[in-house]
Symmetry: C2
Subunit: 682 residues, 2 copies
């Protein structure tokens, strides 16, 4: 009838439980039972084999329901650990944690630990801490953005752009070519100034520092939490071996293995995958270029006006879909690679999987952004002689008001979509499937059986459930730090998303999914290194955004080298007066291949474009090289200064708080004292 | 009469020894006794107080002399541990290790460990390993240097310089101004080409990789050695506490302390000291400038011809003396800072002292080199209008054949002096003082007393004896890696020096110094981090040397942008034809303030100088900016690529060899098995 959830207690199980004191917490009991189930039975069958043979259908730990089931002494049975201490049950967690109204309350980490095990508790502790630390970052980001607002109209540059009625911009794209007045881009120029102002540089440095401080404080926080759990000196290897030994006394030790050949093959395969990811980014580029051509030539007149917008938005959408698809592909590839590597223990395997999967995911998510930030619009040539893809399509150019705009739009769309859609999906999918399953099944009479049935109908969990949550947060962390200079609202978005995410995950875990098999852990593992790597990448990427994408450097250079405020020249005008005229190169319309085919070409003899080239042979001008040198110098300076600041900050804040260090020392002291007191007898 | 070397066995000592099994190695016994002596006696006096009061004069462990003294059971007495296992004595070490003829033989690390303790043994193991690893580096360096030789005459650039009889260089310096033919610098140009060729770039990348591989392999080596010594899981804190507890049962635990205020103050003080070091470098600059002025104006005619050489050599000498002086100053400052910080244990204090002292020493040694490599000759202005120090002295300019020459000479002098002089001093000083003391003292009759007397006459050792050796090697490692691009012979020099150094240190320790108090250690401590830091700095510094000091970039750019091989231009000439003419700027002699006062100015209308400036207004030309941009781009590329290679290499070579990992795991397994077998009884 009902697929059995019960199974015969296997041989060694009672021995384990009796060997341990009776006050073992649930989590430990579940772990032990789960471990036994993973072992081979005497007949040599693993549980997986039995499932395949149809003897069992599934196994999972049951959720506790307010102690109504009472304690079952034979905890080894049933694949489910039942309540032993009803006062710390699921209801408690439901009440204090997995509710929307508790959104701004502290999470009951210890309760979570008692119910779901250390690993899940650490995830939520980390997530809570991250959300906490996002508050100052979000605030500063908002201030930077708003300070842009306050200068909305005051900026000399916007003013000049809006008044430039007699400057004609060269036509871009292949279709509907016409000269545009610079003043037409007035609104966009003002918008650009919202996030491309002097505050951005300060904000980027602030975020680099923030990332370091966040990590350091998290390490301290972790040390405190883990000390409370008595796991400070816990050794995973030892525990694993102990479990194996208890279970089967003739267990053969699995040795560490390492082969340079395998490492090399994995390295090469990973590099190939990364190339594929970068290739995907190029496909996106081709898509955007092709889409632009198609949209422009399409008969729909309303589309024609908004070609650029349509292309950008649809490009971002395609990017989002690509990311979703690539995530699946990456997971499979990373799993295959890990299988090939053959790790010794599960946790080693998980850590290797983490590194591989994250690397692939990182390239999938960010390679397109890198293209937009640093390559888009730089390799186009000049109006008279543009670079064409496959000799057909013109490469995209940056938005009229600068390349920063493109990056901003792309970031906003991707982040917005990721946050909202992913969160919704994450919640709706288990909720719907849970509903579905509840509808289908019939009711059992026995209350205990009914409870089991209820549990059975919940969504199954996989080994990588928690892993997926972590991965999602890491990618989000990447978005909030790596291109933060282009999108200062990222921390704010992340903050909102995280507040929702914590409760979503909580509700999902408590109400919609079967209970996770608790796992012990004393830190968040490889994710810490991932966070550190993201921190370093963020410094490099932000430096590059400020140096190459933003117009910060050209403005500063103009101010002190060419503008009215330069050395020697005293002037009462704004220091940036004339910047716009200075930053646009001149193109003589007669040099177009087909000057007559452009609308309104009658009375325009020269048009302008964003670049630093000579008006004679359209080669790069001296100014271009000056600027390039200063941009590069800035990048080097920014990188080294920011990394130095990170180093000093990491040194300044000790990893482990003094109190934790001291209590560890005191523990050692106690142990030794005990040994010595009892020593002479031995 | 003789200052007593004996002292009463203090209270707890016998208990310690009796509590331990009788086969304790000497090293452990000496450590225990030494520890007890460091404790306060019942009267509250430390040993230091007693020394001050004249009760004792000194204390040190005795060298073993071939077991002729026999085992003394009361090992706690006399401050000296005497022989217990005569077969592993000092003689053995003397024979197999501390001899010149054993220079190329493997060191008996285990014997050293048994005699001097783990810390010294690790130092020699590291030194041996480092020397070993220097062989390939030295070979490659030599090949690069020699490949320069093979091109001695073939190089197009040298050829052009040697044939440039009609190119006049602008006069440099204030005195004896005359126009020099470019062809006069022919020899120097050829010499420069020895180390400033394409091989340098490859060598710099090779050295970055080498540094990483060296470190990784050392970690593996260390793991193997330490495993052999059964120290793998050794915990310094625990041992310290245990010793304290055994000694005085009512010992109060010293807690970890940390205060942000102290950290800040130390940070600020360190920064001040670093500024002082950099200031010293500036003083050196001023010295060189002033010396140039004095030498030039001196009446001695032979000096006048060789002003530059004299200045460079005397500058390097002064630099060397400064380094010696600053080493003393730095040590005092670092000690003071450490005292202020109040560390918990001795090893913590040592590690903090290491970081501080090394940082200061690093700046003292390298800030002058940094000036020569990157600043010298860049801030001079142009011939008509030079920058003057305090309005008086002209700043130095680079050598006529490029700034690389200056760096090479400085490196060669400093390294040569450091290696030879320091080694001599290090050996001669203890040897002489030992001789002196042996002469003075009279002979005792009692053979045991005579032996003690012999030991007493040896040079005293300090806590930081080993530390000084380490520091010396670190600075040497810095020289061999940080500016290796400018001085490819550095690894070779270091190799020779190290071969001598190992034996020198061995002889010093075995024959000339009192025996060191053995100390346990499972790694080389903070020095590993220091090595890693040097590795990263080396990448940055070498990238900068190639980008800014060497003429590699200008040559490459000329080849592909301006020269006869540039795109589109087909020519059978050497790609660098015309480079020399291209790289020199034109100066019209009529623009000099005092054109007539220069010798041979009659028929010279324009002179040339090394820079990229316009011939009209002497501002930087477009070429200058192009080059600067490419130099900076190269630096960024080089840094990131080299650091990536380092990362991959570090990942590729696991820190701990598989065999060590496995035996650690097996140990754990054994322990657990034992516990479980004996478990049910408890």
């Amino acid at each position: 009838l009902y697929r059995t959830l019960l199974m015969e207690p296997e041989g060694p199980a009672p021995r384990v439980d009796s060997a341990r004191p009776i006050t073992v917490p649930d989590t430990t009991r579940i772990r032990i039972v789960n471990f036994i189930l993973n072992c081979r039975t005497a007949a040599g069958d693993t549980f997986e084999d039995l499932v395949k043979d149809g003897v069992f259908e599934t196994r999972f730990p049951l959720h506790k329901v307010r102690g109504c089931l009472g304690a079952r002494p034979e905890g080894g049975a049933g694949g489910g650990a039942l309540t032993q201490s009803p006062e710390q049950g699921k209801e408690n967690l439901k009440r204090t944690w997995a509710r929307w109204r508790n959104m701004f309350r502290k999470q009951p980490i210890d309760d979570i630990r008692n119910y779901f095990g250390e690993k899940v508790a650490l995830y939520f502790a980390w997530l809570g801490w991250y959300t906490c630390m996002l508050v100052p970052a979000a605030l500063v980001g908002l201030i930077v953005f708003l300070s842009g607002f306050s200068l909305f109209n005051a900026s000399q540059i916007s003013k000049e752009i809006c008044e430039a009625h007699d400057i004609y911009m060269c036509p871009r794209g292949d279709h509907r070519r016409r000269y545009q007045r610079l003043s037409d881009t007035c609104t966009f120029a003002k918008l650009t100034h919202l996030f491309d102002n002097e505050g951005t540089v300060i904000f980027a440095i602030f975020m680099a520092l923030w990332a370091t401080v966040f990590l350091e404080f998290w390490k301290r926080q972790r040390a405190r939490v883990v000390l409370d759990w008595d796991l400070y000196g816990w050794d995973e290897d030892q525990e694993e071996v102990a479990l194996e030994l208890i279970n089967c006394p003739d267990y053969k030790l699995q040795l560490h293995q390492h082969s340079y050949l395998k490492s090399t093959i994995i390295l090469i395969l990973s590099l190939l995958m990364i190339c594929l990811m970068i290739g995907m980014a190029h496909v996106l580029v081709v898509y955007r270029v092709a889409a632009a051509a198609v949209f422009s030539s399409s008969a729909l007149p309303f589309l024609e006006d908004q070609v650029t917008t349509a292309v950008v938005v649809s490009g971002a959408l395609v990017h989002y879909v690509t990311i979703l698809v690539m995530t699946k592909v990456n997971k499979v590839v990373a799993l295959k690679l890990c299988d090939y590597e053959k790790s010794r223990t599960f946790s080693e395997r998980e850590s290797k999987f983490t590194v591989k999967f994250f690397t692939l995911q990182f390239f999938a998510h960010f390679s397109s952004l890198v293209y937009i930030a640093f390559i888009l619009g730089r390799i186009n040539g000049h109006p008279g002689k543009t670079v064409r893809l496959a000799g057909l399509w013109k490469l995209e150019e940056c938005h009229l008001s600068g390349c920063m705009m493109d990056l901003f739009v792309q970031m906003a769309i991707i982040m917005g979509l990721k946050q909202t859609l992913s969160n919704c999906m994450e919640y709706l999918h288990p909720w719907l499937s849970h509903k579905c399953r509840s509808m289908r099944g019939s009711e059992a009479r026995d209350p205990e059986l009914r409870d089991w049935q209820l549990n059975y109908r919940l969504n199954p969990v996989y080994t990588f459930s928690l892993f997926d949550e972590f991965m999602e947060m890491m990618i989000q962390y990447g978005f909030t730090t790596i291109f933060v200079a282009a999108f200062p609202l990222a921390p704010l978005l992340a903050l909102f998303s995280n507040l929702v995410e914590i409760r979503l995950d909580a509700i999902k875990m408590v109400r919609l999914q079967r209970r996770l098999v608790p796992r012990k852990a004393k830190d968040i593992g490889t994710w810490l290194q991932v966070l550190e790597t993201i921190g370093v990448l963020a410094v490099i990427a932000n430096g590059m955004v400020i140096a190459f994408t933003s117009e910060f450097i050209p403005r500063v250079v103009y101010k002190y080298r060419y503008g009215p405020c330069r050395q020697g020249a005293r002037s009462s005008a704004d220091c940036l007066t004339g910047y716009i005229n200075h930053s646009l190169s001149v193109f003589h319309t007669k040099d177009f291949e087909d000057p007559v085919r452009i609308k309104g070409s009658e009375n325009v003899t020269e048009c302008r474009y964003r670049d630093y080239r000579n008006a004679q042979d359209y080669n790069f001008s001296e100014q271009f090289w000056t600027l390039l040198a200063i941009r590069l110098a800035f990048l080097i300076l920014f990188e080294h200064v920011a990394l130095c600041i990170k180093l000093v900050a990491a040194w300044f804040v000790p990893d482990v708080p003094q109190s934790v260090k001291n209590s560890v020392l005191e523990q050692k002291y106690e142990v030794l004292l005990g040994k010595l007191r009892g020593g002479p007898r031995q």
